[in-house]
């Protein structure tokens, strides 16, 4: 629903919103509406690049409390206006874009930090807090959330909860869904609900998990209690070069199967090692695949874990040891990969084909995607690394990149090309045992695959949506709902 700004209905709704959150917290000016019309999804970036306006919200509302969110939801519910939660806008799937106008609920004013509970090692906060700010607060108290994603500087905790995000230490500390104790949520009708206070229980299905990954389509997550950890006494890294990514994958999988429990692991394919890792570290890694891993915790235990891990890397797989320094390069530069100059950028067309699979399938998924991209889109380059490792498999962070001069100038043609790559690559991944996806979410970008992904379970998801949001006002057009 687009409400004409010069209509009296616009003024009626604005008055009610102002009453709910205060005059200063309802913005109808162009600059901020513009700012909320482009997130980290390539399509709106390209659209703006080509001088086309992107769909905008009618109102940008900044609630300061759960009660204010509830009031806004009741107003939206009454007038059947779309509400799109917006955290930092750093989502790459277009999840926070107000494609049907209405209200953008910018959550960043809800940034309260309530401190660490030193008995339970948990922390409670409002969800609009930027992840970096939360982490700094915890650090000051001697703790860490251990949620250290590359978008820590810009994304909110609410955004991570809504997308089931992850950070670089996921292999030991888990994804955000493994870190959550409980949630407070405002439903589309404005009711305030809380999920059970602990994540391990046998009191029926887990409502916390229902809202994690719901991408703002089932309600607004307003508060969270997360686990925290004391800062480790020691954190050590080590890196190896293997002749090819297959050998490196075998070594990495062996390390996971050994259950030594690394806190992080990354494996870059030969192309990404050569073009990307070399550039970021400022050294020449001309041949082979770069594998880095680390352990953290008590120093004596970390030393022992590292000793056994080295035996696997060197004794079993004959990796070329780059030493502790070679591993620290990665830890120190882990975010540098994401700055302009190191990251891809419009006018290039690029996308992260985030896929997850078990060890039995992950290489097949890699080759299926790489082959289809290379064959069908000869102008595109395909690179990949394996980011988040579990006992059973890992995440493939594959990317395709078209040079700017190979992207059609017409924005519709550019979008069509872009979507075609996704269609081919994702179908190839799914056909080979991959799941779309591990941590970026669905949003607008991948909504069309959700029915395929869920199969006969899709009506269950749709039924939950219908029950919680009968008028379909919560983030319409996202998550395939």
């Amino acid at each position: 629903m687009k409400i004409k700004p010069d209509s009296y209905m616009f003024e009626m709704i604005r008055t009610e919103l102002t009453d709910a959150v205060g005059d200063a917290n309802v913005d109808v000016k162009f600059a901020d509406k513009f700012g909320h019309s482009i997130d980290y999804y390539w399509i709106p970036e390209m659209w703006h690049d080509r001088g086309r306006p992107c769909p905008q919200a009618d109102f940008i509302v900044h609630p300061g409390s759960t009660e204010e969110v509830s009031r806004v939801m009741k107003i939206a519910s009454q007038y059947k206006i779309p509400v799109v939660p917006w955290g930092g806008g750093s989502g790459s799937q277009g999840g926070a874009l107000p494609v049907f106008g209405g209200i953008v609920l910018d959550m960043k004013r809800m940034n309260k930090y309530y401190g660490v509970d030193r008995d339970s090692y948990t922390v409670r906060c409002q969800t609009g807090i930027i992840a970096r700010h939360l982490e700094w607060n915890c650090n000051k108290e001697g703790f860490s959330t251990m949620h250290l994603p590359a978008s820590i500087a810009c994304a909110t905790i609410g955004g991570f909860l809504a997308h089931r995000g992850t950070g670089v230490l996921s292999t030991k500390y888990g994804k955000i869904e493994d870190m959550v104790m409980s949630l407070e949520v405002v439903t589309p009708k404005g009711e305030i609900i809380r999920t059970l206070p602990v994540p391990r229980h046998a009191s029926g299905p887990d409502l916390t998990m229902l809202f994690l990954g719901s991408e703002g389509t089932l309600g607004v997550i307003t508060e969270v209690t997360l686990k925290v950890h004391p800062q480790p006494e020691s954190r050590q890294f080590r890196a190896y070069i293997f002749p090819d990514f297959h050998t490196a994958m075998q070594a990495g999988a062996s390390l996971m199967r050994s259950r030594l429990g690394p806190c992080a692991m990354r494996l870059y394919d030969e192309t990404e090692t050569k073009t990307h890792v070399s550039k970021v570290f400022g050294i020449d890694l001309d041949k082979g695949a770069y594998l880095v891993f680390g352990f953290d915790g008590r120093k004596d235990i970390v030393n022992l874990q590292m000793k056994h891990a080295r035996e696997i890397m060197e004794g079993q797989f004959h990796g070329k040891d780059l030493g502790a320094k070679g591993g620290e390069w990665w830890w120190e530069n882990k975010y540098k990969f994401f700055y302009p100059g190191y990251m891809f950028h419009v006018p290039q067309a690029f996308g992260t084909l985030d896929t997850v699979a078990d060890f039995a399938h992950i290489e097949k998924v890699y080759w299926a995607m790489k082959n289809v991209v290379n064959k069908e889109f000869p102008d595109a380059r395909f690179i990949g690394h394996f980011s988040h490792w579990y006992e059973w498999g890992c995440m493939l962070y594959a990317r395709f990149i078209f040079p700017g001069d190979k992207v059609p100038p017409d924005p519709r043609e550019a979008a069509a090309l872009y979507n075609a790559v996704w269609d081919k690559a994702i179908r190839a991944a799914i056909a080979n045992g991959g799941v779309i996806n591990e941590h970026h979410g669905v949003g607008l970008k991948l909504g069309r695959y959700v029915k395929d992904l869920y199969g006969s379970a899709m009506p269950v998801l749709q039924g939950i949506k219908k029950q919680l949001d009968p008028d379909g006002i919560m983030n319409p057009g996202k998550l395939g709902l």
Binding site: D27, K29, A31, F34, R50, G88, A153, K336, P340, G341
Partner: protein, 344 residues
């Protein structure tokens, strides 16, 4: 357009989120428009027609920027997002779209560009209007000069170009700079000691950009104290929380403030949760307190909320602007001169 000199920042910042956590205004207004990403995207939109200086909020977003340069300092490529914003302000002015409040301020600063000198010798102390408004800071500087047996010529007066440059009035800023340089030459100044970091930055960086040659060496007061090799009899009475200065750290990259604190044997405690953000309440924007006093107040509250003990803590700052802004939120700050003078 002036912004075309900052093509690199336009192209790279417009879709980049990596310094969002440091957007001081964004962190108190909770907006997207107040981030390097969106400002750069709006400036890019000027060329394609999606954005225009007719949008008053766009122009205001440019003028309410804190200009701390924390983003530039943080950025691995040091893309000059701040330079871009200043160039954009100059374009706004050239396009005749400067807000009335901005024009009025510029007229006031232009008219203020004249100076007086009192005293003798070729060492001078530039006592800018902001510092002059703080009796304790002035007294401390005088005590330090006396301890060093230096009786500098004291130069007082108005805008030496910085505020005009920040408002986007470049020809007027350059004219003020030329006038001040000529004044210093006429006064035979060979060494100029400057208290206000903004003035130091104007003299060391802006003047070079304008092609204005100074007849003298310029020292920030912290550099001068170190050079003067003063004997300090005691260390500061209480621990201090030093705040990294927008100009001295982010723009000029000088480490004299830290060295001075070391020389004073000050017990320094880390303020807030990190050393990346600005806690300077818009110091880098120099006149933010005139254009948007409500934002300076919000920034000061933000800082106060991060103090260990807001009623008791003493913050060590390089500028009177910051001291004054923090006082509005009930925080106690001392300038580096005051701290050094207390140790004599």
């Amino acid at each position: 357009m002036n912004i075309s000199k900052y093509e690199e920042a336009i192209q790279n910042c417009r879709f980049c989120f990596m310094c969002r956590h440091l957007s001081a205004i964004g962190n108190v207004r909770f907006t997207e428009a107040d981030t390097p990403r969106v400002r750069a995207a709006m400036l890019y939109g000027l060329r394609t027609g999606t954005n225009s200086f007719d949008d008053e909020d766009f122009v205001d977003a440019l003028y309410r920027q804190d200009l701390s340069a924390c983003c530039v300092h943080h950025c691995v490529n040091h893309f000059d997002e701040n330079g871009l914003a200043l160039a954009a302000r100059a374009d706004v002015v050239e396009a005749g779209k400067a807000p009335e409040a901005v024009k009025a301020l510029a007229a006031e600063f232009s008219a203020s560009a004249s100076w007086k000198a009192a005293g003798k010798g070729d060492v001078a102390w530039f006592l800018d209007g902001t510092t002059a408004g703080d009796k304790d800071a002035v007294a401390a500087a005088k005590k330090l000069f006396a301890a060093a047996n230096v009786a500098p010529k004291t130069i007082t007066g108005g805008c030496i170009g910085k505020a005009l440059k920040l408002l986007g009035f470049l020809p007027e800023a350059k004219a003020a700079a030329e006038k001040f340089a000529a004044f210093l030459a006429a006064e035979g100044v060979k060494t100029l000691v400057v208290s206000n970091p903004a003035a130091y930055d104007a003299l060391t960086r802006d003047y070079a950009d304008f092609g204005v040659k100074l007849p003298c060496k310029v020292l920030h007061v912290s550099q001068w104290i170190l050079q003067a090799k003063l004997k300090f009899a005691k260390k500061p009475a209480a621990p201090v929380y030093p705040l990294a200065d927008d100009f001295l750290r982010n723009y000029d990259g000088i480490d004299a403030p830290e060295k001075l604190l070391k020389a004073l044997k000050a017990e320094c405690r880390p303020f807030g949760t990190n050393d990346e953000e600005t806690y300077n309440c818009g110091e880098g924007a120099v006149v933010l307190d005139r254009l948007h006093p409500e934002l300076v107040e919000a920034l000061a509250k933000y800082v106060a909320a991060r103090a260990d003990n807001p009623e008791k803590d003493t913050l060590a700052v390089a500028s009177v602007y910051v001291k004054r802004a923090l006082a509005k939120a009930g925080l106690k700050a001392v300038t580096l001169e005051e701290l050094a003078a207390s140790c004599l």
